[in-house]
Symmetry: C2
Subunit: 542 residues, 2 copies
């Protein structure tokens, strides 16, 4: 295996930052005595290297803090080294005991202390209030994702550039391929997931993983973690068809998934995306996709977020192993009324990971204007869903963000950053205010509203709030948001509400909000006076 030392650079950076200490020196068993909550602790064991340890040696450990215990698979990392990784989710004293079918590796015991999470460590992201997300410590998480499918599989210059770009970007989630895409005519990936001599010949030894490949993946995931970015890891796709990773047999598929889980699940910023464009992978059946989900559910002791991304056909996201809905749809977030429909269908967070991309390709999936990309973010946002970014401008270097990462050239990211700030100012989460009547409004009933006019260019907006959470005499302040030019202009005075009819409250003096008559404008409306009203209603109002 050709393993270039420089590939460790990001990794070493992470090590220097003290976040992850691999035990390079292999002793009989080494493990840190202390780790912080939601961080990763690694047991390193010296074991047999003869035969094929990937197939022949089983290793796992039970971790317990006295209240709960979790069984975690370990993995063979080559050169006689075995590792077991674990993410403790509670502080206190934990103990462990190993299990193996090799006596050198089994029944090894130890203990360690879990200290409170340090600054910037909010734990893993999970589903919150049905349609949304939060970190384990309660901090809100609003996914603002982008896609750079193959960035993990490019050289160190590009990887560093990608990380630098992300650090300056609004994005807090990246979709990326676990096994590489074949970028025809571009350099080969430095490593592949299986041992083999000639990638073009598809001469893989599917019974032997290539640990160096996975170390590069882990470096990338760690680098993202340190930027507060979630790693949405895509496990299957068809973009490397020449290499055959989408056509492995059932046993290899399952072994691959279990190996990936053993290596990656303990990283708290990992999300599992079972596939990209699952329906375009013609070498799998629905039973395969379901089984992959089951393996993830059964093997991942932390229940990391699980989704699957479609091409043209929808997976049944009502299946209980799907934690959130990841959707490609070229039209659904053109307007908010469409965008919110999947929420009701699945009653899970809806993330539009692919809504066409900003770019200048001849293919229409890759030629949105920046304005249209930003428009789709806003339309999805007021619908109580989350939209993902992608960019594919043609460039002499042939480095396209969507595929290779590198640099962002588009005009949407700065506007998306502006939107993210606004989203983070919401006290709670954005949900549709009155879904069957007025798709333009999202927010928190009686507290905080975002009204987005999209491509419409109204000259005024009659001040009118749906009744839920609203009560006579409440007072609201309004700001006009230019989503493209990124300005927020307060409207003079406040609006004091009175009941209009069975559905709405309006301003007491019948005032409207004057608008500039241009597209891509929004309102932010905040209650600044009057009491809060419990906003739950026995029956929704049709």
């Amino acid at each position: 295996m050709n393993y270039p030392m420089k590939a460790f650079s990001i990794f070493l950076l992470a090590v220097a930052a003290g976040v992850f200490v691999p035990s390079a020196a292999v002793a009989s068993l080494t493990a840190p005595s202390e780790v912080e909550q939601w961080d990763l602790i690694e047991l390193t064991l010296e074991g047999p290297s003869e035969g094929n340890p990937f197939l022949e040696v089983r290793i796992s450990a039970t971790f317990s803090d006295g209240f709960q215990s979790k069984v975690v698979d370990g993995f063979y990392d080559g050169d006689g080294v075995y590792r077991i990784r674990f993410m403790p989710d509670r502080t206190g004293t934990w103990t462990y005991v190993t299990h193996s079918n090799r006596s050198r590796l089994t029944n090894r015991q130890g203990r360690f202390t879990v200290t409170p999470a340090g600054e910037g460590n909010h734990g893993p992201v999970g589903v919150y209030q049905t349609f949304h997300f939060a970190y384990a410590d309660g901090t809100p998480y609003f996914p603002v994702g982008t896609t750079a499918y193959n960035w993990l599989h490019r050289n160190d210059r590009l990887r560093t550039e990608t990380i630098d770009t992300l650090a300056q970007s609004p994005f807090n989630k990246v979709r990326m391929l676990l096994y590489p895409e074949d970028e025809k005519g571009r350099p080969l990936p430095p490593e592949f997931p299986f041992e083999g001599t000639d990638p073009r010949a598809r001469e893989w030894d599917f019974e032997r993983f290539n640990p160096a490949f996975f170390r590069r993946i882990e470096e990338g995931i760690l680098a993202l973690r340190d930027l507060g970015i979630e790693a949405d890891v895509i496990l299957f796709h068809k973009y490397g068809e020449d290499w055959g990773f989408e056509s492995m047999d059932v046993e290899t598929d399952d072994r691959y998934l279990k190996y990936v889980v053993a290596r990656l699940a303990a990283f708290r910023n990992v999300w599992w995306s079972v596939a990209n464009e699952w329906d375009f992978v013609r070498t799998k059946t629905m039973a395969d996709w379901d089984r992959y989900f089951e393996i993830l559910r059964d093997k991942d002791p932390y229940g990391r977020l699980r989704s699957i991304h479609n091409g043209f056909r929808m997976y049944d996201h009502n299946k209980d192993w799907v934690t959130h809905v990841s959707i490609q749809n070229g039209a659904a977030v053109e307007e908010s009324g469409r965008a919110q429909m999947y929420r009701d269908v699945y009653e899970k967070p809806v993330v539009y990971d692919e809504v066409k991309y900003e770019g200048d390709l001849v293919q229409r999936w890759g030629n949105l204007s920046a304005e249209e990309m930003v428009h789709r973010f806003w339309a999805g946002t007021v619908a109580g869903t989350y939209v993902g970014h992608g960019e594919c401008y043609q460039h002499p270097t042939r480095e396209i963000w969507l595929t290779t990462g590198g640099v962002l050239r588009g005009e949407s990211p700065s506007r998306i950053a502006f939107l993210r700030d606004i989203l983070e100012s919401v006290p709670g989460r954005v949900n549709p205010i009155d879904k069957w009547q007025d798709p333009t409004a999202g927010g928190v009933h009686g507290e905080h509203y975002l009204v987005y006019f999209g491509r419409e260019a109204p000259a005024e907006w009659p001040f009118r709030l749906f009744r839920r959470g609203v009560a006579e005499g409440q007072e609201y302040a309004v700001e006009i948001i230019d989503t493209w030019n990124m300005t927020i202009t307060p409207v003079e005075g406040t609006f004091v509400v009175t009941r209009e009819d069975g559905y709405h409250f309006v301003d007491r003096e019948g005032r409207s909000v004057e608008l500039p008559g241009k597209p891509y404008h929004a309102l932010r409306i905040r209650r600044v006076g009057g009491d809060s009203v419990f906003a739950a209603e026995e029956l929704p109002l049709l």
Copy 2:
């Protein structure tokens, strides 16, 4: 039981027409010797009337034509009479044998001949080509439904009026409640499903059905059948809360369903709607709804269409016992891009049974203009879905079509009839032509298109067809449809197509279609020259 003779009028009409001959004279076993395919044959048996036959006597029969056999439950019809109804789906000789826990009723055998279906008998409706419907004999069925919830439970004058109205209407499906709605302040229903003395006192004997109630239901279903109208029978709802039918215990619920299936399943125009606004019925759990579906699936030997209608919350229509999607949504068919979204989610026929109603109520669910009602029909149609009508104009008689039936007063039905004619002219079924790019177009690729502009009022339409099914040199004729004024105006000449780019074909001479610049217009585009092209594509084109 007060059983008014006049309630038989519609029934007797049906009998006179020779379609259904009940055995009034109870002998030991009577049965016709001949029946036509998909018609109903009824075995009538004399049996015990002591004790509580509804609870204590089981009766069923196995019907076989030598190739297949079906076990069908019978039911107690009061006065010592037991009936077993069966719908044969193949011609030829059938035999039967009865089963019972009473010796007088068991092991009775016989045979009958099934003759070919007569004129107007196309068999039951089933799902066809994933998103659509057809009669069993292959005749297309395009649901054009309306709702008259309580019409079965009104007096004979009103029932006759309703049937007369339906006979003149475009509607070929009616949604209706099996147990009655409580129309506060209006006359009580003449019959109730259970024995009892005072409806207001909820003094039902839930262990004894009222056969007279069910006979009235059957009269109504037969009257619809003879008009070619499907009876979409709603099994549970909350509109009779004072009577308690939505709050029965589990055993009574299940016995009620089984009794209903035994009585009604053999009528070929019956569809099962498990509930209306299921989520507004607060006395059931999801496990109840699922179990009702399971009972229908297991007990109905014909697999009649099964759905459930929602209030605000979606049932999971991906569950395999759901045959088609019945939806209430006040916004989804405002535009085609929304309307088609549920198709992809469920991969079943999507019927928007409630999209708000034409009317003048203060409630917004009942105050659509006729124009808006018609608009929603068209928007749903080009999206490859089916839309339902309802009407609730206030009137001095307090007879509102939606509830009582009677007469239609709105302006949409004539336009819906016009649309139905156009729909029936399609060679095949309407599906979205290019769902992520152009929601305005539905039809059959390369054959027949309907393009609907909705509230837009374009002055021209550049002739452009999505590439699927289209080939160089094909020739198309265009008509302009005014959906409100019900005119069809041919455009002079034809359009010969040539490839524009990777996605579209356009007219060779770059011609556009001139339009009147008014809303609610559509185009019908038909291929009149050039060869047909197989329209399936390996991969959908994003």
